[in-house]
């Protein structure tokens, strides 16, 4: 068990008073649980004012999110109407006629012996064997499905891999996908929304990074331009010019989030994603003695009876793309949350839902101070959002906390080039230099030994933002008018303010030991997510059972670089996890679980497509699983099918 969430569910009378002591509700599995008045919901709450699909709870290994499903009468958490909120112990959900109190919420320890339960499923099937006998597997009576390919994760990494298989000619009946979310981009979209990128805002991605199209053509820019033309608007051609001139003559083109999601919807239908997709949580993977693999999973499909939900898929080839296992926050932030739960609402991670601070800051009738920590692309977007909030409340002040001042010549250097700096922030259109995706830096990095890779990773990566004139304009105007202030130094401590309990105090230490205290209403931490793959019980079990090697982080030390803690799974340039080879059986991976490996930009649309292409080509080269090569003519034929919207 990785999570235990208990509620006291109280029915209210028309005056809002409890009708009784309430009834307990216990949730001990991750996944999405729907609430509403329709009998199709997982939890049915009756009442005229309850929408048929009122809200969802998304339970992961590390957090519980509530999403209002555009209900007519709304959902309140702690007396505040919310669209999206993270739940904690003691929170109270109110919908008309019902109150749900979170009486306890605990996330399991991540040691594998507790997450892969020693008695129950799937340990009862696999036992302690690292090589499981197929006959024994069948004797347990769990439903078993046999496929050639199985993609574990169900997000964009799984999707790009499966999309390649399908376009290479593999029928959908040979493929199974296991994922907790129904649509491939659900998790990605949630991260976007939380970090203030709604559907109409633009992603940090380029025109040719098209996860819905394995060729990258036509790109999003031309689709947008011609789409606009069809609707009688000429503005679209500005986009073409951006692609043409980027980044020297125009700002880099980036696609709208909503357009990308719509394109993925179309491709999901085209490749029969729903037919291949099993909604559930992969629990454990084992090699089989016949050269295949068994994936034990628990179905999350509400249509399937509880007793029937534990299942096994046997496949010849696996693909692992489970994404960020859990969102871990930086230490000082985590300490504050744990020590001062009453002040939890003042500090937020930019990747977690925090809309309420904008609502509160806009509604306030006096000065509001918001500390924005970090200088990446998310910080830029949060500052933009606060700038929008200033239109409702001009007394909002942004304190931008950055570790140190960056003068225009102190950007990162590699070879004979130097990264540009604007307003104390390093500028780069995407999260790696462009040639890391398919140019000379990709070749250079793949050829390099581990130490050189470490040095390149440290130098070429780092926190950067895109050069957007609106963002630079906001900072320049804010500095001039005094509502944007950069604060340099490392944050040492975050505490509730002694005198005014509704404020947070942030101790900052600058260069040369100079100390400062910031007193603010809110802190938004934009330093990002920490990806620790051992927090995924599935991956941790695999790493331990098969002693899989890991990549390592590197950090600058003096003139050189020093090796730091382990990062992603070690994979070959074909993105194969060699330690999991099993006769003809192969396991591939992609995305953030492979970070630090043979490719820098693994955590990007184009990076996912690159890894999928490498892995699919590897299957073709090995010739053992019937995947046919995609040469120029077959490729063009498949592309025409994509254009027509025909099945591959």
């Amino acid at each position: 068990m990785t999570v235990l969430l208990t509620f006291n569910v109280i029915e209210l009378d028309s005056a809002g008073q409890p009708r009784g002591p309430g009834a307990p509700l216990e949730i001990d599995e991750t996944g999405t649980i729907s609430f509403g008045s329709s009998s199709e919901r997982d939890i049915v709450l009756e009442g005229d004012l309850i929408s048929r699909h009122h809200f969802d709870l998304t339970v992961s290994d590390s957090r519980v999110m509530l999403t209002d499903q555009n209900s007519t009468n709304g959902t309140q958490v702690n007396n505040m109407r919310v669209g999206l909120a993270e739940l904690g112990q003691g929170d109270v959900i109110d919908i008309p006629g019902w109150r749900l109190e979170v009486t306890s919420l605990s996330f399991g320890v991540t040691e594998p012996e507790t997450t892969v339960s020693p008695q129950g499923f799937p340990h009862d099937v696999f036992g302690d064997d690292t090589l499981v006998d197929v006959g024994t597997l069948h004797s347990h009576g769990y439903p078993i499905e046999e496929r050639k390919f199985c993609a574990v994760g169900g997000g964009l990494g799984s999707f790009t891999f499966v999309d390649h298989l399908r376009c290479y000619g593999v029928p959908s009946s040979d493929i199974a996908v296991i994922g907790t979310e129904k649509v491939s981009y659900a998790t990605y979209k949630r991260y976007c929304r939380d970090s203030q990128i709604p559907d109409h805002e633009r992603l940090r991605s380029n025109s040719l990074s098209t996860p819905d199209n394995i060729w990258g053509f036509p790109g999003y820019a031309s689709r947008e331009a011609f789409g606009g033309l069809l609707r009688g608007r000429l503005g679209g051609f500005k986009r073409i010019f951006q692609v043409f001139g980027e980044p020297t003559l125009a700002e880099s083109y980036t696609p709208r989030a909503g357009d990308v999601f719509d394109s993925l919807d179309r491709e999901e239908r085209r490749i029969d994603w729903p037919a291949m997709h099993r909604q559930g949580q992969a629990r454990c993977i084992r090699k089989l003695n016949d050269g295949r693999y068994a994936v034990a999973y628990t179905m999350r499909d509400p249509a399937v009876a509880e007793a029937d939900r534990r299942r096994i898929i046997i496949a010849d080839v696996l693909h692992l793309a489970t994404g960020y296992p859990a969102t871990r926050f930086v230490d000082d932030f985590q300490t504050f949350i744990v020590n001062y739960p009453d002040h939890r609402h003042m500090v937020h991670n930019a990747y977690a839902p925090h809309d309420q601070i904008y609502d509160a800051a806009e509604a306030a009738n006096g000065p509001v101070y918001v500390v924005v920590r970090g200088r990446g692309i998310v910080a830029s977007r949060i500052i933009q959002r606060l700038h929008e909030a200033r239109k409702r409340n001009p007394q909002i002040t942004i304190l931008h906390s950055m570790r140190s001042k960056l003068d225009p010549t102190s950007g990162a250097r590699y070879g004979r080039a130097r990264r540009q700096v604007r307003t104390n922030i390093e500028i780069q259109p995407f999260n790696w230099p462009k040639s890391c995706w398919g140019g000379d830096l990709r070749f250079e990095y793949e050829r390099a030994d581990k130490a050189k890779r470490g040095a390149m990773l440290t130098t070429l990566g780092g926190t950067t933002t895109a050069e957007r004139s609106d963002w630079i304009g906001i900072i320049e105007r804010g500095t001039e008018e005094g509502w944007y202030k950069p604060v340099y130094g490392s944050i040492r401590e975050i505490l509730p303010h002694d005198d005014s309990p509704d404020k947070v105090m942030i101790r900052v230490e600058g260069e040369g030991g100079h100390r400062a205290e910031l007193i603010a209403d809110y802190l938004v931490d934009c330093t990002g997510l920490i990806s620790d793959i051992t927090r995924s019980s599935l991956l941790n079990d695999l790493i331990e059972t098969y002693s899989l090697p890991r990549n390592h982080a590197y950090a600058r030390k003096g003139d050189g670089f020093e090796k730091r803690g382990p990062t992603g799974l070690d994979v070959t340039p074909h993105f194969e996890i060699e330690g999991l080879r099993n006769q003809r059986g192969r396991v591939y991976a992609s995305g953030t679980v492979t970070s630090g490996g043979p490719y820098l930009a693994v955590d990007s649309f184009l990076g996912l497509q690159y890894s999928a292409l490498r892995s699919t080509d590897h299957l073709v080269t090995e010739g053992a699983h019937g995947v046919k090569n995609l040469g120029p003519l077959r490729s063009a034929g498949q592309w025409l099918k994509w254009c027509r919207g025909a099945k591959p």
């Binding site: 380029n206 053509f217 020297t248 990446g376 998310v378 070879g415 004979r416 000379d440 990709r442 120029p632």
Partner: protein, 158 residues
């Protein structure tokens, strides 16, 4: 969480291979078509001449590629904006045309390109080949060569 992408990020080998690919797949057939439309009676003679001009421009471009790669390495992203590609392609052609009309290229007789007629013919031919070739770089090559965009413009397996 953030996403990345490419525009044109060729290596030297990629530039050379892509240039030759476009010469063979688009340059030769489009030159034949142009010659046939321009001078139906003597199209074969015109074809050989124009192909020689095109080969000279391509050859000059291959030398210039070394310079472009040097410039590209000074850019942090090590990329080559499409606008540069567009501009320098026209410069390459203009220089070769000027040299030929000045009689500096032994295998291209200056009189064949002389006067306004020669200028119009050579420019029309160049536009006929250049515009589709440039558009092909913006993505259509990937339709046939799916690995091309990850191989810095080179052909073959990854």
């Amino acid at each position: 969480m953030v996403q990345g992408g490419e525009t044109m990020i060729p290596t030297l080998a990629g530039r050379i291979q892509t240039r030759l690919l476009l010469f063979v797949l688009l340059g030769i057939p489009l030159t034949a078509l142009f010659s046939w439309l321009w001078l139906p009676l003597y199209w074969d003679l015109l074809f050989v001449f124009l192909l020689t001009v095109l080969a000279t421009v391509t050859g000059f471009g291959l030398i210039m590629d070394v310079v472009y790669i040097g410039l590209q390495r000074l850019r942090w992203d090590r990329d080559w904006p499409f606008a540069y590609q567009f501009f320098f392609s026209i410069v390459e052609f203009a220089l070769v045309l000027w040299a030929a009309r000045s009689g500096l290229i032994p295998w291209l007789p200056a009189e064949a390109l002389a006067g306004t007629d020669g200028l119009i013919m050579a420019s029309s031919h160049f536009a006929t080949v250049f515009i589709p070739s440039f558009l092909a770089l913006l993505g259509p090559i990937s339709v046939f060569f799916i690995r091309w965009r990850f191989k810095a413009g080179q052909l073959g397996k990854l």
